[in-house]
Amino acid sequence: MAGLATVLGSGAMTNTIAEIEDSSCILAIGTSTTDAHPIAGYRIKKAVRKGARLIVANPKAVDLCRFADLYLPIRPGSDVALLMGMARVIVEEGLMDQKYIEERCENFDEFKQALDAFPPAFVEEVTGVPREKIALAARLYAAGKPASILYCMGITQHSHGTDNVLAVSNLALLTGNLGKVSGGVNPLRGQNNVQGACDMGLLPNVFTGYQRVDNPEARAKFEKAWGCSLSGAPGLTHTEIFDAAYNGKIKALYLVGENPLLTEANASHAAEAIKKLDFFVVQDIFLTETARLADVVLPAATFAEKDGTFTNTERRVQRVRRVIEPVGQAKPDWWITCAVARAMGAQGFDFNSPAEIFNEIASLTPSYAGISYARLEQSGGIQWPCPTAEHPGTAILHTEKFATPSGKGKLVALQYRPPAEQPDAAYPLVLTTDRSLFQYHGTMTRRAPGLDGLNGEELVCINPADAKNLGVAGGDLVDVVSRRGRVKVKAKLTRRCRPGVVSMSFHFAECPTNVLTSPALDPVAKTPETKVCAVRIEKL
């Protein structure tokens, strides 16, 4: 997200889910869409049926490959090499959109020079994919008018995730696919309201609508609205917060609706960090593994027990409505936080309803300014930016200019950087994580009767050739060991994983995959590299 914001001025999906259906070429990279975003998956399958070309790039032969014209089984962490390699083919063969580049892009010359570092032989070696296939992918993508790129955590959860995102946007800019119907760069956001959470300033460096905390004007606006003075120093990110807690710099933590003991990379470190806190408050719908460590646990309401809004991956703000009363003593999260603030004597937390909160959001957030509960009642949601009450909302971003200071989209000269952790003699395999269709992070799905019946245990997927070398048969119990920890898990032999790569999901508390994963952070986005870590497998 940080990546897209730099070059395009906005870090959200540029187009809508429905538009995917009419793309003429779809490049799905680092996404197992039919598992993690099934409804977007329906649109991809429909597009293919309508004649679209589908290119899938993924270390694992995900379900989507069944529908693909071309599958690129890239090595984990080689995305920049692949995408820059494709860009090089496009430029060499003159397949780029010259007019679009001249009118709407900047920095083409520097970008073109950077392509010199990605000759076919090098790209082939880094990605493990034959150069002919990469050239074919480049030609298919460049010929697709419009062509859409979909990506997910397989792009962002790397020590160079921001570079990956920039490489994706380079490709779309080069071929003139941004600002066009059924084109675009489309990050499929994971959680239901991750877009909304970012929009609301649930980030250490921005207020709502990405207004930066270190911008004095923005700060003055919020200070005036909230009647207080505010810090202009960006705060710590999620992963840094746990480091700071571990080092004693963070003493009190208020954690809402999250289970870092399951989801945090290098999860045992998170547990130790929590134990060092002076005061730890958890607000959740279940007594999770993490909540058991808290000093105070506050019972929260689920989505079915509260009113509000979610903003989806295509920037669509939609109304969430209360279906039932909160169970027991549970309360909506906004109510609890307001009650804590009032108990501390704070002003500005006297909201009686989510609608009142939304009005305050709209008054401080230009991209949400034209949205209100009354308007949401009358429509199937409104896509931001929606600056005025008369504005219909925006389905496609960047149709005329980019939201950057120059108004142009920036082509970025990128270098290939290998993943932070490489396989070696002691840890010869690469572990990458993925998500099951039948599970989510686990707190909810494991408690939804039936879903466990469809996928009730963790499995480590191993290529049969690797399994043979290890003497492991399908169903054998093995230890997966990384530099940070070990977990016991059953093996599943599948050619879906390329040799040298194993995969696991991360939904199961009894098999916490993320004790293995690498905490190496992307320097800009501070996203941990959960998609690449070196492991070995020990037969039990």
């Binding site: 309201n193 105070v296 989806n312 969430v320 409505r321 909160i357």
Partner: protein, 346 residues
């Protein structure tokens, strides 16, 4: 938008957009034509032969496959049509288990609607009826049951799996009176490529595909699915303070009437007995129950002594935007720090 086409159905003027089938034009105007295999989300196939109509100057025609034309004069019922329909219907339901009262679809069943319109003659039905209904129930899937004794072979499930889900894991199998809907190798559905999205269950017009332990909701509320970033519109049903059902919002621009396994069948966690229903405070190393006042006072007192950058808040991308706004305001305005983040990167 092109101009509407005007035609006459049963002597009543009807308007419809070009390309609309006569069946849909009639239904949209409140004129019932019996039908089983047609579904608004799917391409028409015209296999149940119940929606036959007479068009002036033509032989009886299936109305689901015939688009509206300017000036057409259509009759939906006549002695000839009624007789053809009756024979067609009898052939369709010879194998149907019509123990309606114990069926989940009772009163919502398209077959009941058709039979009450067309009328069924028990005597002639007995003549063609198969001696016993012997398809075993397929209970392999945790979310839905397949009862082929109630199947009318309309093929809506087959086309749904193909056209909507795009997977095509079921199809017609066997021949003649033994024809049934089956997965590859006639195995239980759980052993097939089925992803349990339930799209077929939502569209089955009879009781052949029904949710397990279905409870009729007392009321329904339109909201948004809590799982992934797609943000599908769902209609959640409840009774007695519990969530009991979920179905897609038909016109939602994101999901257009579709859902995946989690959105349709995965909301049971709301009712889970392990839900956190009480406040807990750590006393002498143990978490014990407390009241809101006590907990709030404790949290307020403690947090007052950790203002500034020694405090951090981590919130959730599962919560509403209003929840998110309030907690970032709290961290910044009350605690005086920008140490606020969520799990966007995970």
């Amino acid at each position: 938008m092109s101009d509407l086409i005007t035609l006459t159905i049963d002597g009543r003027p009807v308007q419809a957009a070009p390309g609309t089938s006569i069946l849909r034009a009639a239904l949209d105007s409140g004129i019932y034509i019996p039908h089983l295999c047609d579904h608004p989300d799917l391409e028409p196939v015209g296999i149940c032969r119940l929606c036959l109509v007479e068009i002036e100057g033509r032989r009886p025609t299936v109305s689901c496959k015939t688009p509206v034309e300017e000036g057409l004069v259509v009759r939906t019922s006549s002695a000839d049509l009624d007789l053809i329909r009756k024979v067609n219907l009898e052939l369709l339901i010879v194998n149907h288990d019509y123990n309606c009262q114990s069926c989940v679809k009772n009163s919502k069943c398209q077959l009941q609607k058709v039979t009450s319109y067309v009328g069924v003659d028990e005597k002639s039905l007995r003549r063609v009826r198969k001696p016993e209904l012997d398809h075993p129930l397929d209970t392999s899937n945790p979310f839905f049951t397949r009862d082929m004794n109630k199947c009318v072979l309309c093929g809506i499930c087959v086309r749904t799996c193909d056209e909507i889900q795009g997977d095509g894991c079921i199809d017609f199998a066997f021949r003649g009176t033994r024809t049934k809907i089956s997965v590859l190798g006639d195995k239980p559905i759980l052993e097939s490529a089925c992803v349990s999205c339930g799209e077929c269950v939502a569209r089955c017009p009879v009781g052949a595909l029904v949710p397990v332990k279905f409870e009729e909701p007392a009321y329904e509320v339109e909201t948004v699915c809590p799982y992934c970033g797609c943000g599908c519109g769902i209609i959640v049903g409840a009774r007695g303070g519990r969530v009991v059902s979920s179905r897609a919002v038909p016109g939602n621009q994101v999901n257009r009437g579709s859902l995946c396994v989690k959105g349709r069948f995965g909301l049971g966690y709301v009712n889970h007995p392990g839900r956190l229903t009480a406040l807990l405070i750590r006393k002498d190393g143990e978490l014990v129950e407390a009241a809101w006042d006590e907990a709030l006072a404790l949290v307020a007192e403690k947090l007052n002594s950790y203002k500034g950058d020694q405090f951090a808040a981590i919130a959730s991308a599962k919560c509403t935007s209003e929840d998110s706004y309030v907690i970032q305001k709290f961290a910044r305005a009350v605690m005086g720090t920008n140490n606020i983040d969520h799990c966007a990167r995970l």
